[in-house]
Each structure stands twice: as structure tokens, then as C-alpha cells.
Amino acid sequence: MSKIVKKVKERLRDFRRPGYYKEFEYNWTMVIDLDKCNGCEACVVACHAENNLPIVGKDECSKSRAFNWIRIERYVEGEFPNVKVKFIPIMCQHCNSAPCELGCPVYATYHNQDGLNVQVYNRCVGTFTCATYCPYDVRRFNWFTYKWPEPLDQQLNPDVTVREMGVMEKCTFCIQRIRVAKDRAKDENRKVRDGEVVPACVQSCPTGALVFGDRNDPKSRVAKLAKSPRRFRLLEGLNTDPSVIYLKRVMKKSGSKKHGEHG
């Protein structure tokens, strides 16, 4: 018994070594071009449809208990008429040194070998530690077991677990889609091709702001975009090493007025 425990411990230590995922086959990455995103929220609804997210209703929304694995934040700066608005889609950043993973007493959230931060629902006991540690506020808790009235339940995606009361959840980068692609690639004895995994949000996005792929493949779109001089990561100073790379919005500095630009 203790041998097994020792082995598990070693393995877990391994999994927490920063940057270890780079030695593995895939390093899933999302690139988000803030200069393309127009804040339309198509991604938000697509995510609901794919990942069996519940609807909680107005009262629960007012208690900040709504479920959004991906959300659009909006920042409104300045006063009329010099108003600047900026949008940013935020989902789990799949940090490679993830604060949430350190806190979980039951290893419900851990790092897998593809660099994904995953959540094991049936290990989760709902201590809320991960959500407290997460600097990006992407974790959502099932305060209740939410039920769809019939026949809305017929839409539920059989590829994704339906969660119950007491469980923490968050964006998985549509791991079910990654699984399918990896299985197929394995059957065909090859690697997953660039563009073969398309998470639901990426699929929907009308403007093409979201791109997903494997950064370990130097020819992939994300690997190329990740080198953009516009790249940055969210709250980089926290050293969480996120797998989501943002490209800066192109925007005039507020206050810098060109000729004729007033009133």
C-alpha cells in the first residue's frame, strides 16, 4: 500500500514540475486576438450548448451564481463623448503553474500531460479552495443540482458529464473534443493535425478571434501567433504561466486626439 502511495506522490510531484508538459506530445494553447473580438457572446452560448452548463435564473444570477466557462468582460473608460470600450473573453487560462492545483486537498484539479488543467468531478468535495486561489475567477460551483424541464434535457451532450450539487467546474478546452481527435489520430497512427481540435467557442466565433491548437507543433497556427509582437498573457506578473495567449487590441490612446476629433 505505502508503495502505491509513494508512487502516486512521485507522479504528482512530477506533474507539478513547472514546464514538464513541454516534454509531452501536445501543449494545447488558445490564442485570442483582442483586435478581432467584438464581444458578441456567440462563444458564450456555444459553450453552454456544448458543455451542459445549467441556467440558474434571475435570482441566482443576482447572487453571482451564473455558469459561464467563458465570459466576456467589458471595460468602459472615460466620459461621454470620449468613451472607450474594451472587450476580453476570459476562460480558464489552463495555467502551467496553476494556483488552484496547489490548493485542492483531494487532487480533484490537477495538470494532465497535455498541459491542461483538468477537474475530476467525482473527486471534488466542494471545498471551494481552487475557486478562491484562482486569480482569473473562472471557476463555478454547483450550489444545486440543476434540472432542465423536459424535453430541454434531450439536448444534453452525452460526451460531457452532467454535474451535480457540490461540484466545482470550469472550462476544459473542450477536452471531449481533444479526446476524440487524439483517439482518431492514434487509430490512424499519426499525430493530431493542426485545426483538428476545435473547441465550441472557437468553432462559433464569427470574427475568428479565437484560435486553438498545439503549441508544440511549430507549424501550427497557434505556435505562429504565439510569437506575435502583440502577445501578452493575463496578469502575467503572477507567474501562473497560462496557456491562453492574448494579442493586444489596436487602439488609439485615450486622450490622444487627432485633428478634428472632438465632440
Partner: protein, 756 residues
């Protein structure tokens, strides 16, 4: 995308063609509980998805979709990557169509009214009975020589369902087939006709433009063809070109599109037309327009100097001059107008002014400009026909007793017309109303007989997108799942009616069902059109390919045929003064602007819980409506965020919570359209308010479009708790550098170093 990639895209899935391939036959007894695969149907493999290519009908853009079906149930809708309109993408509403299909508040089978009209008391009946009741009613009209008393009112239909209803009506003997919904771009079509001789909507090539001047068109949420235009927007910004396209948005209230603009021009409501013509004035005065008729343009525009316009529009003369210069010098440039612009009383003229801008800058028929579409494969409603389809005319005929029987399909005019039209009262005057709606909405509640139709995921159909993308596009709709309830396709209902009626109608529409009608019609297209038939040896092969791909479209680059706008043509239509607003300025000091909510559009999306809980893109409000007020104005009136406020126009008042918004002029307030349903299922009912109720009846005489920005209002604080719920707590970055930016100049320096 190539066909091979398409199949690859579907991955482990299968391309489906028609549910169970059982053409026109329902594979599952509707209403019955499904017994899970005692005898599994042949094409169902548990755990493996089948993908059906079909059509989105959540708005009239006509996007192509793929529906993922597992074990006979629809799970997910994605964009069809082959489709030229949405290019594999999908908007929020398109995603939510699943919840229309599986909505718990759908009408589950045919019903007959038993109580008072509007009381909601109905009795379930069989389809045979329902069809024979309506059939008897129509025979009766026929016997009395009153076939013209039959009116059919539908949403915008462009495909063969439209043809079928037209044939039905003409052989029955009634000219009264109307298409009406709130957002039909009537002004735009008419403006294009009078200015360019184009009785249609062109493709706006945003992707390739470098300077986009938008007058109120909110294409990021709802305007025209949101997915197509948003995709274009993404390309314009970061499509790999060295020069990033610029967006300038002219509107009194910052819309979602405006929020993404490089420059916002917060013009005084109703004066956009004057502003546009003043920009035109500057183009001509600056000698940028080289046409032979430059002098007559100069004369036409002489009254629109920037100095004059500045006084009217409250936009600085220098700024007008600057925009004109940028607009004409940046190549290619494009001006568009819609939503807010089209919604003024004088919206049509304002749109003519936008066309003038495109003409003067040489943008019509250019890549990156206005691209007129080739004539579609099938003629839908022409602009001329559309202009006659007026809801006020219908109300009048109903009041005068001309409407004997009314059949309504897929449109809810009681919700989308101002109280002043008195549509509900008019409808009470109609002896017999049949509704083919899947949902109990405000209009269906007036019906004596309900024949619930399929939702788009259960039905056959087709569409010829307008606007398309500079090429011909035909999209096929096929059932992805068996009917969830005891419903029928709208086309099937008309065909069974024809059977019940017999005679000329029965002969003309002698088909087994709508699928057969559709297939036969396509057989004709196949036989008569070489381009469509190319590459398919037999019709069956062609038909299967249609179903597999989700339609047919030209794959070549659009041809750019220039068109021009002449002074003679537009003279009578240009806006000479600001649009009018009702209500005395002293008593009603604020302009009211209404706009379609990104999720609910004209109200039809309000019964879908995903859309109710989708934060509004600008305000993050969920499950309700609100009035947007500039903080300065609010302060003056003692109104705080979330307070309950009465918005009163000369036509009535509505109570709703205040949302303080820096993106609106202090003299303007805005209310989204879509909430405030009295009926429409558990998710929509008694939630928020409907601002259309307090609007005057202001219909453009030329086009029949209803002006939504046509009245002034006053505000009064009513109480503290307006029950405003919004998601997201902060809208300030607090120096955290969350959305990092670089300047356009910096970007130009680094552009090209980026490979995508």
C-alpha cells in the same frame, strides 16, 4: 474548404441526408415516448454523431448550419464551413435554436379555441379535424365568392415555401399574401432602388475595406447578416493585411459595433442624414469627385456645408471635413447604414444619403465596397411586393371587415406593432384566425384554430440568402430530428389544405407533401440551370450532394459590376432637415432610441433560456430590460443605477430599471426591444417591458417600414429597486492591464512581422 476537408472536419461523424432517409415519413410516432432502440434504426450508431447540413432560421440572414445528432437527438448546432454566408461560424441566436426545438412551452398538437378569444382556453384536436375545420372555412368563403377575404401573413420567406403559398393563394383566388416582420430592411431595399436602381440588398464587403463608415449599423449583434459581416470585421482588423481597417461609427447611442469602433461620432438623433450629406458636400467641394456630373452634385449639396451641418448635428465642422477626407482618400472605403439610421421617420432618405457617399467615393461595385448581388436562383418577395405588405393596411382591412380568414405563420405582429395600430382590436374583428405557430405568443392567442408547425430543425425547406455574398447562394433545410411533438411542416399544412379544398387548388398542389414539392422544384432548377447541374450526372446524385453540402453556391470570386447614383434619381429623396420626433420638447425633453436586443432580436429569442441568461454585450444585464441613461442626465433627475424609472411618451409609459451608460448622449435614452411578452412561455412571460408599445405609428409612406426612433420621452424616478441584474461586477480595469493595447502607429511598425 474542400469537400474532403469538410468530411475530415466532421471527424468521426457521419454526413446525414434526411432523417432516416424516410422522405416525408415521420419515423417516430410523434408525442410517443421513445423506446430506446429495441429495434435500432439502421443509421444510428450509439455514441457516433450524425451531422445534418441545414439552414438557420433564427434571423433572416440565412446562415448554413450543421446539426449534430446523436441517438436521434439534436445536440449542437455549428456553422457549415462550406457555406459562403457564415463560413462555418454561428451567432449566439443560431446556437440557441436547439432550445426552440426542445422548448418545454411548445404547442404540442393542434388545438381549437373553446373560451373567449384571447382567454387561452383551447381543446386538443386531431390533425384531420384541424385541417378539415380550416378547409371547411375556406370552402365556405369560396362558395360565397369571397376568396379575397383570405389573408395569409408570414415572416420573410424566400424559398419554395414562399412559392408554395403563392401558388396556393393564386389558385384559391386571393391576392392577400403578406410577409411582415419588424426587421425586414424595407427602407434599405427602397433606398437602393431609388438611388442605384437595385431593388435588393447588396453585399457589403467589410473584409476588404480599409475605412468603414457606419451610420448606426450594428452588424456585430443583429444587423443584416451579423455572422457574415462580423467575419468580415475580423478580416478587416487582422486579416493579415499590413494596413488595418478603421471603423468609424456614427450614432447617438454606442452600440456593440460602435463600442469596437476607432472613432465614435455621437451625432444628434435624427440628423445623421444631414451629416452624411455634409460629408458628401466636402467630397465634392474638395474636388475629390471626378464624375462628369460633379457640378450638379455640387448644386444638390450646396445647402449642406459643414458649418451648417455642425449646428444641426452637433458634430464639429472640422471633424466632418476630416471624415470626408479620410473616407475618400483611404482606398477602399465603404459606408453602411442600418438599424439606428433606418429607424428614423426619415430613415429611408438617410440611407439614400449613405448611398450617395458610396457613389461619390467610388465604392459601388468595388472590392471592399458595395458589391451588388447577382439575381438569385429563385425569385423571392420583390421589393415592390414587400412595400405592399403593410401591417397597418392589414389592421385597416381587418377593422373594415375585409379580412374574413387569416392564416398567420412565424410572425408575431401583435408584439411588434405600436399600441396605436390597434392590431389586437382589429384581429378581434376577423371572423376566423388560424395560427401555424409552434409557440403561444401574443398573436397566436387571437387564433381560433392552432395548427402548430415544425421548428426549423424538424422541417424541410430552402432559402436564397439576401443579401448573399456577391455570389448566388441557395441553402437547403432538412430535418435533423423527428418531430418532438405532434406538429407538421408549414408546407405540408398548406398541401393538406389544398387536398381538403380540392378543385383548382387541389389540382395545382397535388403533391404528397412539402418534401416532394421541394424536390420537384429543385428538379426543375437542375434541369434549367447548367451551372447548378454542373458535375452531377443525375438529379438524384445532385440532390444527395445538395443535402450533404447543405445547398448550392457559386464558388468563384464575385464579379464587380459598377453602378452609379445620379442626382436626378435621388433628388426627391434626400433628407433636407432632421428627422422628426413626436412629443413637445418642453414636456418630453429626451429622445427615445430603441434597438433590437442581441439575443431576442424582435422578441422571438426571448423564450430561449440560453439567450435570457446571456449577458447583454454592452450592459451585461440578464433576464430583463432596462433604460440606458447618461449619468449626467440621471444625476439631474436624481436617478441612480438600478432605480425603477418611468419612461413616458405621448403614447404611454413603461416602467423599467435604469442603467447608467456613458455611451449615450445626455439628451437621449435607449431601450432594447425583445422583452415584455405577455405570452410566450415560461422563460419570456412577464419579464421586462416592450418599448414598442409607447411608440407612435410612424410608417414610412414609401417603404412601409415602421420608425422605431420617432418619439421623445420624459423620465421619472419611481423607486429604488428596479430589479436590475447584471453579470460581471467591474467595468474598470483599475490599472491591472487586463486588456492591453497598442496604438495603430505601433501596429503599423510591427505588422508583417506577424505571421498567421
Amino acid at each position: 474548404m474542400k469537400r474532403r476537408d469538410f468530411l475530415k472536419y466532421l471527424g468521426s461523424g457521419i454526413v446525414g441526408t434526411g432523417v432516416g432517409l424516410a422522405f416525408g415519413k415521420v419515423t417516430k410516432p410523434p408525442g410517443a415516448k421513445l423506446i430506446p432502440y429495441l429495434i435500432p434504426p439502421e443509421d444510428v450508431i450509439p455514441g457516433v454523431a450524425t451531422w445534418y447540413a441545414s439552414l438557420c432560421t433564427q434571423c433572416s440572414a440565412g446562415c448554413g448550419i450543421l446539426v449534430k445528432v446523436m441517438e436521434g437527438r439534436a445536440k449542437k448546432i455549428e456553422g457549415n464551413p462550406l457555406h459562403p454566408v457564415n463560413k462555418g461560424r454561428l451567432c449566439a441566436r443560431g446556437n440557441a435554436a436547439l432550445q426552440a426545438l426542445y422548448n418545454p412551452d411548445r404547442i404540442k398538437g393542434p388545438m381549437k379555441r373553446t373560451g373567449e378569444r384571447g382567454s387561452g382556453k383551447y381543446k386538443e384536436i386531431s390533425w384531420n379535424e384541424a385541417v378539415s375545420i380550416l378547409g371547411r372555412n375556406l370552402s365556405e368563403l369560396d362558395k360565397n365568392g369571397a376568396t379575397e377575404g383570405l389573408y395569409v401573413l408570414t415572416s420573410t420567406l424566400r424559398g419554395h415555401l414562399n412559392t408554395l403559398i403563392r401558388e396556393f393563394m393564386s389558385s384559391y383566388g386571393s391576392p392577400n399574401y403578406m410577409q411582415y416582420e419588424l426587421f425586414q430592411h424595407r427602407n434599405l431595399i427602397y433606398a437602393n432602388r431609388v438611388s442605384m436602381g437595385l431593388d435588393a440588398i447588396p453585399h457589403y464587403d467589410i473584409a476588404n475595406t480599409r475605412y468603414l463608415l457606419s451610420f448606426g449599423a450594428d452588424f456585430s449583434s443583429t444587423w443584416l447578416s451579423p455572422v457574415n459581416l462580423s467575419h468580415g470585421y475580423g478580416e478587416m482588423r487582422q486579416g493579415g493585411a499590413r494596413r488595418r481597417g478603421v471603423l468609424v461609427q456614427v450614432e447617438p447611442r454606442l452600440s456593440l459595433t460602435g463600442a469596437n469602433a476607432d472613432e465614435w461620432v455621437p451625432v444628434r438623433p435624427g440628423t445623421e442624414g444631414v451629416l452624411a450629406l455634409s460629408i458628401a458636400h466636402e467630397i465634392v467641394a474638395g474636388g475629390y469627385y471626378k464624375g462628369a456630373d460633379a457640378s450638379s452634385w455640387k448644386e444638390l449639396l450646396s445647402g449642406f456645408s459643414p458649418e451648417h451641418a455642425a449646428r444641426v448635428t452637433e458634430v464639429d465642422a472640422g471633424r466632418i471635413h476630416h471624415i470626408a477626407k479620410e473616407f475618400v482618400k483611404t482606398r477602399p472605403s465603404l459606408a453602411i447604414g442600418g438599424d439606428n439610421l433606418s429607424a428614423y421617420r426619415d430613415g429611408l432618405s438617410c440611407l439614400v444619403a449613405v448611398n450617395i457617399l458610396n457613389h461619390l467615393a467610388g465604392n459601388i461595385g468595388r472590392k471592399g465596397g458595395v458589391v451588388p448581388n447577382p439575381a438569385g436562383l429563385l425569385k423571392g418577395r420583390t421589393g415592390t411586393e414587400l412595400r405592399k405588405d403593410r401591417i397597418t393596411a392589414l389592421a385597416k382591412s381587418a377593422l373594415e371587415g375585409d379580412v374574413k380568414t387569416l392564416i398567420v405563420y412565424n410572425t408575431n405582429p401583435v408584439f411588434t406593432t405600436p399600441a396605436g395600430v390597434k392590431l389586437e382590436r382589429a384581429l378581434r374583428n376577423v371572423p376566423f384566425i388560424a395560427s401555424l405557430s409552434s409557440f403561444m405568443d401574443e398573436t397566436t392567442a387571437m387564433a381560433d384554430l392552432i395548427l402548430p408547425s415544425h421548428t426549423s430543425l424538424e422541417d424541410w425547406g430552402d432559402d436564397f440568402a439576401e443579401p448573399s455574398t456577391g455570389v448566388r447562394v441557395a441553402t437547403l433545410m432538412q430535418p435533423a430530428v423527428s418531430p418532438v411533438f405532434d406538429t407538421r411542416g408549414a408546407g405540408d399544412i398548406f398541401i393538406s389544405l389544398a387536398k381538403a379544398l380540392g378543385g383548382k387548388v387541389g389540382e395545382r398542389l397535388n403533391y404528397k407533401g412539402f418534401p416532394e414539392y421541394l424536390k420537384e422544384s429543385w428538379r426543375k432548377i437542375y434541369a434549367n440551370n447548367k451551372e447548378v447541374a454542373a458535375g452531377a450526372l443525375t438529379f438524384d446524385g445532385f440532390w444527395n450532394r445538395l443535402l450533404e453540402h447543405g445547398g448550392w453556391w457559386q464558388t468563384e470570386e464575385p464579379r464587380h459590376k459598377p453602378r452609379s447614383v445620379s442626382v436626378r434619381r435621388v433628388k426627391a429623396h434626400i433628407p433636407t432637415s432632421p428627422s422628426e420626433f413626436e412629443g413637445d420638447e418642453g414636456r418630453y425633453p429626451l429622445y427615445l432610441v430603441t434597438y433590437p436586443h442581441a439575443g431576442y432580436l424582435d422578441g422571438r429569442g426571448a423564450n430561449l433560456p440560453w439567450l435570457q441568461e446571456m449577458p447583454d454585450p454592452m450592459t451585461a444585464v440578464v433576464w430583463g430590460s432596462w433604460v440606458e441613461i447618461n449619468p449626467k442626465t440621471a444625476r439631474k433627475l436624481g436617478i441612480k443605477q438600478g432605480d425603477l424609472v418611468t419612461v413616458e411618451s405621448p403614447y404611454g409609459g413603461i416602467d423599467l430599471p435604469a442603467f447608467l451608460y456613458e455611451g449615450i448622449r445626455p439628451d437621449t435614452v435607449a431601450v432594447p426591444i425583445g422583452q415584455g411578452h405577455r405570452l410566450y412561455g415560461r422563460y419570456a412571460e412577464k419579464r421586462g417591458v416592450n418599448p414598442i408599445e409607447i411608440l407612435p405609428v410612424a410608417e414610412d409612406k414609401r417603404s412601409g417600414e415602421l420608425a422605431l426612433n420617432s418619439t421623445r420621452v420624459r423620465l421619472e424616478r419611481k423607486g429604488a429597486d428596479g430589479k436590475l441584474v447584471k453579470m460581471g461586477v467591474r467595468t474598470e480595469e483599475l490599472g491591472r492591464g487586463i486588456v492591453q493595447t497598442i496604438t495603430p502607429e505601433e501596429f503599423e511598425r510591427i505588422a508583417g512581422k506577424e505571421e498567421a
